[in-house]
């Protein structure tokens, strides 16, 4: 098995928006969740992180988002080291990155527009905003964000009435209203049906390509990753196994991410992966003109 970027110093791209350099994370229990992980995302790039459950994908994302402080290495956002920041300067640095989660996490009783406007709160420290009044000046921006995700017609509706896919798109609109430089998505399609998943992935792709945001997206579906990612970063047991464009990753290397990992999450992945890899081979074959080797069908 070949290790591509593990341990090697990261290549500092001139346009790198986010860079993680030798990130290590050892939890209080002694478990090593991240082991020298490197990562870089440029503006306008969509990076997908793949790996088995518990491989450190989410830990990596949280370290980048500034929600967890890594025990080794550093994270640079637009060239600035955020791992050494704390308090006010850390929360300011965090605001350059918006997060999207597996669940949309909207306030169901408020309108879709109000939920999106909540994304702008970080820029407004007024007394009115502290007692529940939304900044009115941000309404046009919130509306534009809703238009971007295709939900302008739902603006006045209660967020609780949206379908799963619509709610996830509304949460992306809320993230956009934050006016971030990067979007970090933690399994954004894990609880959506295939059609809604495609829609969300298309949206993320458009946000990176057209709005020039750096997008990092943790996924469980190799097939989706192949079709939408500019680059795929494969993780296994806290280490980065590969970091390459989808066309350059053979199916057996993708499959190797999920093989023989001794935890129940990996067992789950093991049950799923044969089908998923077959599907990815088929879909990847279509999307990339048959460049993918069909070597791993069982």
């Amino acid at each position: 098995m070949t290790r591509v970027s593990n341990g090697a110093p990261s290549v500092a791209l001139p346009g790198a928006l986010i860079e993680a350099d030798g990130l290590g994370m050892r939890y209080g229990t002694g478990r090593l969740a991240l082991d020298g992980a490197n990562l870089s995302v440029a503006a306008g790039e969509l990076l997908v992180i793949l790996g088995h459950n518990g491989c450190g994908k989410s830990t990596l994302l949280k370290c980048i988002a500034g929600l967890l402080r890594p025990t080794a290495g550093r994270v640079l956002v637009a060239g600035r080291d955020i791992t050494s920041l704390s308090g006010r300067s850390l929360s300011e640095a965090r605001m350059a990155m918006a997060m999207v989660f597996q669940q949309a996490r909207l306030v169901g009783r408020r309108s879709v527009l109000a939920n999106v406007q909540c994304g702008t709160l970080g820029r407004h420290r007024t007394v009115a905003s502290a007692v529940g009044v939304l900044p009115r000046t941000e309404q046009p921006l919130a509306m534009a964000c809703l238009e971007e995700v295709g939900l302008a017609d739902f603006a006045a509706q209660r967020a609780g009435t949206l379908s799963g896919g619509q709610a996830q798109r509304a949460s992306i609109a809320r993230a956009l209203a934050q006016r971030p430089a990067a979007l970090l998505a933690d399994e954004p399609v894990a609880s959506l049906d295939p059609e809604a998943s495609e829609e969300v992935m298309r949206l993320l792709r458009r946000i990176s390509a057209e709005d020039g945001l750096g997008v990092i997206c943790v996924l469980h579906q190799p097939a989706l990753a192949r079709r939408y990612a500019d680059r795929i970063l494969g993780m296994r047991q806290g280490r980065v196994m590969f970091d390459a464009a989808p066309a350059g990753i053979a199916d057996d290397r993708m499959q190797a991410l999920y093989e023989g990992v001794a935890n129940d999450g990996a067992m789950h992945a093991g049950v799923v992966h044969t089908g998923a890899v077959q599907a990815s081979a088929a879909q990847g074959g279509m999307a990339y003109g048959g460049q993918v080797t069909h070597g791993v069908t069982t």
Partner: protein
């Protein structure tokens, strides 16, 4: 064959398991024992409360007599009773409002997902438990002694007991709240107050309002009783009329009570439906 013996043992165990643990009544033997215990407890309760159904029959004459003397209600007294009726409603209204204002901060302190510190959590929990454990009638007796006769001790009693009831229910609503929006807003860079007012408040407000309205409804009924210990309102009038054997006034007061209770019940139910 050893396997068949083993199978039979396993089957026996399984049958016993359903008999004693998983049956609808927890197995017939346990069910019988439970019934027996219930009957014994019921028998002692019957003895202790000195239940004598025959007294109901011999007392029927006396009740008929009271009913006859209470009819028709003395409507000429109605203008005099309007003020006490307003007092009763206002004791409940004032008491509930004050209780809501005090219960909300206590509930925030005593919900494990919003409490700022462990000692505050424990203190708020104990205070709420104390308010709830003492019945409002007892609070009224205490406050009448402290601030004298009238509606104010009644309002205080309603308020203190309601803090106990509302504090616990509010805390439960806050604890059951979906924390997703809270975390999402925190990551957008909103500060603690903004997260509270934009994510916590809109999520829990309808439930809190519904609970508060239901409490108002309960408090109107309890403020009627509080008058009996001198805390103003219709209850006090009722006690006076009873002591003076003015049964036609008593029936008027009962009608008035009935009207107020039904009216507020309907109104609070309609409002709660509107909020939900």
């Amino acid at each position: 064959m050893s396997t068949t013996v083993k199978d039979r043992v396993l089957r026996d165990r399984a049958t016993r398991g359903t008999l004693f643990a998983t049956g609808r009544w927890g197995g017939s033997a346990w069910g019988f024992l439970g019934l027996l215990v219930f009957l014994i407890v019921l028998a002692q309760a019957t003895l202790v409360v000195q239940a004598r159904p025959q007294d109901l029959i011999t007392g029927a004459h006396g009740m008929a007599d009271i009913l006859r003397r209470a009819m028709p209600p003395d409507f000429s007294k109605l203008p005099d009773e309007l003020w006490p009726a307003l007092e009763t409603v206002d004791i409940a209204f004032f008491g509930t409002t004050a209780a809501v204002l005090l219960a909300v901060p206590l509930a925030i302190l005593s919900a494990h997902n919003t409490t700022p510190a462990r000692p505050l959590y424990a203190a708020a929990r104990s205070l709420i438990a104390l308010c709830r454990a003492v019945p409002d009638l007892v609070w009224a007796l205490l406050f009448v002694t402290a601030v004298g006769l009238g509606p104010f001790p009644g309002a205080l009693a309603v308020s203190v007991h309601s803090i106990g009831m509302l504090g616990r229910l509010f805390a439960e609503v806050i604890e059951d709240m979906d924390m997703g929006p809270v975390e999402a807003l925190t990551t957008t860079g909103a500060n603690r107050l903004q997260v509270f007012s934009h994510a916590v408040v809109p999520s829990v407000l309808p439930s809190l309002l519904g609970i508060a309205l239901y409490r108002l409804d309960e408090n109107i009924r309890s403020s009627l009783v509080l008058g009996f210990v001198g805390a103003g309102g219709l209850g006090f009038e009722l006690l006076t009329a009873m002591n003076l054997f003015q049964y036609r006034t008593v029936s008027l007061l009962l009608l008035l009570t009935f009207a107020i209770v039904i009216l507020t019940e309907r109104m609070s139910a309609a409002l709660r439906r509107h909020i939900a």
